[in-house]
Symmetry: D2
Subunit: 463 residues, 4 copies
Amino acid sequence: MAGTGVFAEIMDGDVFQYYADNEWKTSLSGKTVSIINPTTRKVQYKVQACTQEEVNKVMETAKAAQKAWAKTPLWKRAELLHKAAAILKEHKNPIGECLVKEIAKPAKDAVTEVVRSGDLVSYCAEEGVRILGEGKYLVSDSFPGNERTKYCMVSKIPLASNTGRCGCTPHDPLLPPGWFPKGLINCVTGKGSEIGDFLTMHPGVNCISFTGGDTGIAISKKAGMIPLQMELGGKDACIVLEDADLDLAAASIVKGGFSYSGQRCTAVKVVLVMESVADTIVEKVNAKVAKLTVGPPEEDCDITPVVTESSANYIEGLVKDAKEKGATFCQEYKREGNLIWPLLLDNVRPDMRIAWEEPFGPVLPVIRINSVEEGIHHCNASNFGLQGCVFTRDINKAILISDAMETGTVQINSAPARGPDHFPFQGIKDSGIGSQGITNSINMMTKIKSTVINLPTPTYTMG
Amino acid sequence: MAGTGVFAEIMDGDVFQYYADNEWKTSLSGKTVSIINPTTRKVQYKVQACTQEEVNKVMETAKAAQKAWAKTPLWKRAELLHKAAAILKEHKNPIGECLVKEIAKPAKDAVTEVVRSGDLVSYCAEEGVRILGEGKYLVSDSFPGNERTKYCMVSKIPLASNTGRCGCTPHDPLLPPGWFPKGLINCVTGKGSEIGDFLTMHPGVNCISFTGGDTGIAISKKAGMIPLQMELGGKDACIVLEDADLDLAAASIVKGGFSYSGQRCTAVKVVLVMESVADTIVEKVNAKVAKLTVGPPEEDCDITPVVTESSANYIEGLVKDAKEKGATFCQEYKREGNLIWPLLLDNVRPDMRIAWEEPFGPVLPVIRINSVEEGIHHCNASNFGLQGCVFTRDINKAILISDAMETGTVQINSAPARGPDHFPFQGIKDSGIGSQGITNSINMMTKIKSTVINLPTPTYTMG
Amino acid sequence: MAGTGVFAEIMDGDVFQYYADNEWKTSLSGKTVSIINPTTRKVQYKVQACTQEEVNKVMETAKAAQKAWAKTPLWKRAELLHKAAAILKEHKNPIGECLVKEIAKPAKDAVTEVVRSGDLVSYCAEEGVRILGEGKYLVSDSFPGNERTKYCMVSKIPLASNTGRCGCTPHDPLLPPGWFPKGLINCVTGKGSEIGDFLTMHPGVNCISFTGGDTGIAISKKAGMIPLQMELGGKDACIVLEDADLDLAAASIVKGGFSYSGQRCTAVKVVLVMESVADTIVEKVNAKVAKLTVGPPEEDCDITPVVTESSANYIEGLVKDAKEKGATFCQEYKREGNLIWPLLLDNVRPDMRIAWEEPFGPVLPVIRINSVEEGIHHCNASNFGLQGCVFTRDINKAILISDAMETGTVQINSAPARGPDHFPFQGIKDSGIGSQGITNSINMMTKIKSTVINLPTPTYTMG
Amino acid sequence: MAGTGVFAEIMDGDVFQYYADNEWKTSLSGKTVSIINPTTRKVQYKVQACTQEEVNKVMETAKAAQKAWAKTPLWKRAELLHKAAAILKEHKNPIGECLVKEIAKPAKDAVTEVVRSGDLVSYCAEEGVRILGEGKYLVSDSFPGNERTKYCMVSKIPLASNTGRCGCTPHDPLLPPGWFPKGLINCVTGKGSEIGDFLTMHPGVNCISFTGGDTGIAISKKAGMIPLQMELGGKDACIVLEDADLDLAAASIVKGGFSYSGQRCTAVKVVLVMESVADTIVEKVNAKVAKLTVGPPEEDCDITPVVTESSANYIEGLVKDAKEKGATFCQEYKREGNLIWPLLLDNVRPDMRIAWEEPFGPVLPVIRINSVEEGIHHCNASNFGLQGCVFTRDINKAILISDAMETGTVQINSAPARGPDHFPFQGIKDSGIGSQGITNSINMMTKIKSTVINLPTPTYTMG
């Protein structure tokens, strides 16, 4: 597919170009990075392996672009973002196809994700107008000992220059040239070993927003004074109480645990179910697992190959460990290449690795508990703290358990979920730093500047 | 009691003085208004019957005082309010006793109310510092077509002069002289027929905050452009579902329905209980009603005389109507003077007056319902819309019913309640206008003033 | 023009229909109201004279529509408003022409106003999503004496049903049928004597937002408990100090005083200039006045006929009074029909009516002052308090004078202005009640509802 | 002084103890750290040199304490802080004396600082109640594609455990035992080489708030995912324009440049004055410098010894460099021990170190500029970006220059200042990360937790 259709013009031969100065460019390195299709396990795309020199240049133009952008009326910035969102949605099919080939996302879901991204950009545009357009106005005489001789005008202004330059993947390339200030938006691709740390510690960087796992923690150790927003791993627990709507719980467990083959930070990653309803839940879940389709993303299968071979191997390691330690296999373990069949592991115990580690694949452990406290304790003993969920009809238990679970979010009677995208989204402990969601993300990418008008004599506003 | 102790110095003979110019004064009218003790039905106190002339003078000094106050540093205003709160709490006993004698409030509750009022004043002080001390700072380029040439600084400033001059009762008199600007705080007493409308329509009035019933509606028709905050009647429904914690529900119904003899705007005023649990609820409530003590407020009885004889007569009218139309009397109806024994009326039907009207006394109707919808319908068919409550263990039902009830607040699994005092508190329909609670009340008593700095050239904040 | 083009389908013969039930209808009254063209002084349009019966019906359907609307997802409500805004802007020319014919607005300005209205609707859509979509979440233990057993969820919800039904003019009719719930948006026309008070006091009304003069005050006296937003008259003062940029001040005075022939609530309505620079200011203003074009709005003249003959007569009365009392006429007074030539009156003194009254026409008084205090005093002695402006280069004087002026807004170094439309906009004293601007207006049209979850035991959120 | 009076009970011999478990303790290390009095250059105090083991224990109890604290009603937490503030203020004299001896702060200023700290604690208490007591309540249907089936309740909760454990100095010891949960507040002293990095990288740490210079940058490199609040160095510029009030500017320069001998992060650290008024400013400043008293802090001298000998040597290095490169010395350079006489250096040029480096002493460079742009350019070329100030009477210049200066705050017509303490306070570039001021600091020490109630069917709040 590469090199045809809408992407044709942004390729040099069979290699995607990188984006800088509002132009698509070929790296002077002469080298490329290969993107492997998880399904075929063959090279699907090639992208430029940019050099440190090229990174430097991008940073330089970005700095200038940011100043121009910061002097553009807010409504105009929003208008441009709305246009970009519309183009993104217009090209949902070719971009969606990239997701299919690059990360084996089921075709329909891939397209849905592009549309949602467009909606997100639009929502950001309007939210940005409000966050950057409204500051605080403080008076000095709130604090003991002061007369009102000082008026303080407080603004939020963007952290200068190129925010969010990490995590760029080759599916952004359709942003049209000629609108945004030259250099405002860039997409540099390359090898981590060559430009990874170089980017992290680049003096031109003003903010790092990163989604990932151990790499995020490594970045945080090199970032120094740069503000960080990190969304890392998770081990989201699903607590099921006796009084839960068990059909709802089972459906949520399957959707939460196996959507996109379990490769979501907010996937259900461990089920903590009260013994008395455990058999029923396991049975109901198994019935639904049996109906999951397994195969290539192009055919919209529910379960598709996991993103890399090393990921598949890691999952297999967890499964073997559980096997050895006596977990009950509700389905036979089956793997072909990167494709792993969905698997529910019952009677998992805390001494098994899968009780604590994140498979990021279609394998879901069930731990039977004898009290709510046991469930909360397991949840809070994790190094992760992204989300959790609890199924109960009881309003008191729902709230009390939510308060007790040490995670960034608790879902009552639904699987963990990132969206809707204006909701706050955050992990604690090793799951992340800062809070996402549109409003929080924009706020995180701003800093405060205040101007104080000092007056020769106290004054109080009359009216 | 009058004329002794802490109140001695604010009396002229046996008549309480009025407060103006930071002084206690005797009206030139030579007339007084009598305050009847609901228990003894005899004159307990006399207060001044001020003249329109005296009202005019108070308004005049208040206007000047307000200007001085508006030019006092916020922290100093807070400091004075904290001091006033401390004094109020220090005199909780004599002031509480006034409540006992004037409105037959049980002695302990009366003292608790004074302490809570002191806490409320302190909380107001700190909230006021924040509301008046922090405005908005807006830029012009949020709106299409505008460059950033305008900075708008938005403040909240007090509605000028003497807010809240209505509803003053003679138990405020202990505010010490000499602190607040002369004339800032006044307490004018008099006959409604003489100075009621005169006050309402006085050109010096900037805000009316009123708690009461029909009088509030009458005031609203005369107030014209003056901002109003009204807390009027209520017919708070208590919906009890099959799955409710019935002990909790019964306890809440008794507390909600009979505290202070049902004379609270947020009293439970009608119980809507599912037929299948109605017998149980009624039985449990009756068991608790049987334990209520009945008698004088000085002895801390649960049920004390209602505030006026006309109120007692009105209640009796509702009871008789229910009797005639076939309501089941769980207790015998009993009245001595203003003292009415607590009474639960079961099997009340919509054709009885007590299904819709507010007794403001210790008489509580129970309507048996066959569906949740029936309960919501009854609640929403009321002209009132203060609060409501629903007892259920089910989180979904709790939220869905709360959303469906057309009242200012819905309490889930508790009786209606005004407090804690920083929570919003509001009635809809005939129950009121505006929202109370500390923050909302202060906001309601402010207006907005903005200053726009217009610049010769667009400018954008760098940093 | 009526009956042709885009409006043809909403007319019955030569009479515009009224809009209800998502349909254009002819009143059963058989009567019409005539709209006079200020330029020709002949009937330009006719609109339906609706009956009280028809008003009742509209109210009824509006109530039902509001419920449906309140159950529409916020983003969908916004989407519909964005569409409506786009249609409004698409028809800017025919709608603009209505403004030309109905109120003699210069043609270009009329079209600009329609575009701005469309932008305003769009901005409202996004602001509405945010105001209605984000409430507060409070805990009980902020207030002394409380444990954390109560969680209070506070929402803003729309004041039910048809807000803002007053002030509808016949230039709204292009809202397309079939989108908004039937009955949500209505446009009823009629005679004030027949349906004016009837509307004001209609039990179906939940909010009144009105722009006008004495009528607003009359409405406020009949509205009772209905929330009011009133934008009434103004006498905006322009204070010019010695150190001002006199060219800027003169240009602002001419633009502020004579745009749309002075018929704007925020027109400069009195100039208060320091004696030492008064001659220069008057000279500069006169030079610019001399260049103003006078004539029909169709030719985009600066000065066009005032809206009614009675308005022209009222203005003439003020001019004659000033003449008699010795004001200096910088231009000869000239009038033809409703067309009044622009006139600057120098040396106006406080005993002249025009020093205090609002001409709402192209006549501007200049009062020479000897101190800043004199200027502020004149400004604050007015019954009005909409906006004011001050011209000075000095930052201290600018802020101190702004604080001292008792008006809703003070513009520093620019003429008074309503926009940009997201800025707060409010008058005090007789100039209005409440605050406008998009955010404040939406807030004003909401009320608060809270849901309190009461828990059996204190709980504190961990994480 | 040590060992007497109020401090006697917290000493072991002549060594101050450390505070943990609500007790004063002696380290098992048997070692101490000496605190040198800058004036006498002799050991004034000794504090415990705690071990890593002891740090571990403190962390452990702190963790437990934090949980207890997080379950204390907010009003009670505030009450305890108010008490602590009162005790702090009550002991203002002995604590102030510590500041005199430890950092040579002039006696009166030292006492003032203690009082201000008490006020700050009280203000924090009330602000904390509000920040932790009020969250957001969001609905799902704000975002495209969503019905209202999710209610999201968003709280701010404390970053767990012992925040702000760095920067503890021995003048905190008076916090009374027995109130706060055991282990909530600790004061561990020790050698940086032994427990500095150990603390920074301790897994028990949840937040680091640090004030200092290079050490802060070093900490940021070791902190990884721990949220940081850093207030580091500054080189606050004071721009003086031709139209400035030169007396005000000169007074502010002397106060801003020489208070506490220039050892304030917000000291004026370089004067950028327009050539045409430079002679006058220099003359006026010199006249005031001549009146500064120089000597020991106990005598309330204006200029006292700088905190360390190495600091004095560093300052001397900057002075010598300026001398060599031709700066004009307005006073003779004079030093005795750590005491350096106040010195204004005129005609400083960008090639001198003192044009860019922060002396943190009573030496102030003046750079003459020929345009505003030159001044802004010098300011923005700095690696620091704490505050800046501009002196001008012109409102347009004031705002435009403030917008152009790349610092956290710009003061118009006053010296840079940290307070009043509820104002935001932040540095950009190497001056810091995050924002301080009471509200921002508390916010920074919180994280977000959300609870989402998922409902089986869409619901919309009626009322």
